[in-house]
Symmetry: C2
Subunit: 369 residues, 2 copies
DNA sequence: ACATCTTACGTGATCGTTCACGATAGATTC
DNA sequence: GAATCTATCGTGAACGATCACGTAAGATGT
């Protein structure tokens, strides 16, 4: 642990420092022997300034460490080059990954970010957050809205700037446009993988239908089954928690309803399932194949390592900021959704000939609770 | 999925909307029949304004939906009521939890947040980020600095505003003061729990010594052992990953060096260890007791459910913003660190009489790589 | 009735920029 | 050599607030 400040400026942690006033555009102008207007021109790479003076001004700027005040610029231009990000307060895997990626991408494109988290009940918190963001003068807003209720609040809110919602499979409105990764495709890929392995009895242990992710992953599962000419059978809706999944797994075992294969709506769900099965001598993947969704950290070290679907948050962030910036700057951009990828590990194996699909349950297509 | 905008303002998603200009302080003044100075006074609850006009102004403000421009206020007061948060780009459990909690707490105290993520090499990215935050005009900065290299970069940087670093066990400098949860205590509690269970051969599968967390958790383990009159034996330093822990666990099994009990530096580390043991018939907790650190989501559904140490991120965020705001507003605040809590589940059990501690290895206190 | 003090409000300057114009100089044209 | 053009630069106003003063009217004291 080295000591401290080798650099010049005196830090201000302890108490009010005498630290010299920050230089402004007039200081630069004076030192360069020009007017502030000219400095402003070089700052904005505007024409009408000779190469010589431009060079001189630039040099002074570097010398005295001048930095343009974003506040003043924002005030006069009424553009802040900042975007607002709204997200749920729970630090869930998907939203957080998206958030971090979003900040990085936005910064690379010259935008700073203002993050505000919201919580239920959304109708009040979302409008308040949107207003705060508006106060901050953001040029546009990206809402990470995994929850349907949260999205609804956004739809009903009023904002003066462009709003983009990252919500899988949600529809756009005149006020709010939507972008997302193609999670339905991810779910299809997961299910298709199980089909390819020879399974015919593929259940879905779903997430919450209060979440777009839950809805759309279920839809993907159904679609893949349909494409394969298979009937959807067992489908249980939960709340994403390992706890619920564990209890569900226990019930499945007790009622002898463990299917050949399961597409779990998330890795956490898969985790609970696996534990319930392991405790009861049901082997994965020998007795039941499982594929998850998310590829959370550690999922490659589950017992067994989990076959799952990975989303590319960086790509998602890239595309969605591009889309928002396009709306802000009035240009058309491509909006094709990101495709997730299937990560094959060992929790899903080939169908066993000696273990026929159970036939006593599952009213076609219906999802139990 | 309801339709759209029930509220007044016309959203701006599609293209440039005609949306009426935002009202400013002069609009309010005119409508209330007073001068902008008076409006400013009611805005700031300043004296020298009669109850009647105050009421009238307030009503107008509400009626026309006036909201004060934070930009203009920031410009003239040179205070933004915003704080900057610097964090590592990797969405790790601790930092992310802290980040989310920080935003919420700051907002509740009337501050908005500007988040910037940094990545290695830190010496350049940190100074750049600090400068950006300065440009944004933040009143203070909180750095979530789990990595020693990141903290070093902060120490060497220069900033004009108060900087607080959340870094477990790091020391304060004149420029940068430090605050953190008491992770050493957490590690002591974890180790002490193992001692209480009757174990005498307690190893530490550590995190990375490039992280404060790694350093301080190891220190806590050593201290607890010392207090119990036990000699520190096996200690392996890793990189937090389940992968490394898994391989380490495998090695331990192969070399017959599996200790009675292990304090794992993180839940992810514990996860890798458990898998290696499970694959080789070493039972947890019967053959080896394990306690982790973090209480990540799902750790209660590991096989077996993990005994671990939980940190209260909300409390941490509360205290640390309080400390920063104290520095900004020049008042003294209490700085006693937050205490973590031990969550007892089933991965740590009583020592077995029939399994004596191995004695053939571990050069006292030394940590192997 | 005069001076003085309060209370309530208006006014001007200011923060650090951008932007539209106006002004100056030298170069070019006839 | 006068007129016009172009390149370069300076100036004033504006953005939306805050804050220190200035000032008018009514309350108070003698």
């Amino acid at each position: 642990m080295t000591e401290a400040a080798t650099r010049s400026g005196s830090g201000a942690a302890a108490s009010a420092p005498p630290s010299r006033r920050k230089p402004n555009i007039n200081d630069v102008a004076r030192m360069a022997g020009v007017s502030y207007g000219t400095v402003s021109r070089v700052l904005n790479d505007a024409p009408d300034v000779s190469a010589a003076t431009r060079e001189r001004v630039l040099q002074i700027i570097k010398d005295i460490g001048y930095r343009r005040s974003r506040t003043a610029t924002a005030l006069v231009t009424s553009r802040s080059t900042a975007i607002g990000i709204l997200t749920d307060e729970s630090p869930r895997f998907g939203p957080v990954g998206t958030l971090m990626a979003l900040e990085k991408v936005a910064r690379q494109k010259g935008y700073s970010t203002n993050v505000i988290t919201v919580e239920a009940p959304y109708d009040v918190s979302v409008q308040k957050a949107l207003d705060s963001l508006d106060d901050l003068g953001v040029d546009g807003i990206i809402v990470i809205a995994p929850l349907v209720a949260m999205a609804a609040a956004v739809w009903n809110a009023s904002v003066r700037v462009p709003v983009e919602m990252i919500a899988a499979g949600a529809s756009s409105t005149p006020n709010v446009f939507t972008y997302s990764e193609n999670q339905e495709l991810g779910a299809r890929m997961a299910t298709q993988h199980l089909v390819d392995l020879g399974h015919t009895d593929i259940a879905h242990v779903a997430g919450s239908m209060d979440w777009f992710d839950g809805r759309v992953r279920k839809r993907g599962w159904e679609a893949a089954l349909r494409d394969a000419g298979l009937a959807p059978r067992l489908c249980l809706e939960g709340d994403w928690s390992p706890k619920w999944a564990y209890e569900t797994g226990l019930r499945l075992v007790k009622e002898h309803k463990v299917p050949q294969a399961i597409f779990a709506a998330s890795d956490h769900t898969a985790l609970g399932l696996i534990r319930a099965f392991a405790e009861n001598g049901v082997r994965v993947p020998e007795d039941v194949s499982i594929v998850g969704f998310d590829d959370i950290e550690g999922s490659d070290y589950f017992l067994p390592p989990l076959t799952t679907v990975r989303q590319d948050f960086t790509a998602l962030a890239n595309m969605s900021t591009e889309v928002l910036l396009g709306a802000i700057e009035h240009r058309e951009v491509d909006r094709t959704p990101i495709e997730p990828i299937l990560v094959k590990r060992s929790s899903a194996g080939p169908a066993q000939a000696n273990r026929p699909p159970h036939g006593e349950l599952g009213e076609n297509g219906a999802c139990d609770r």
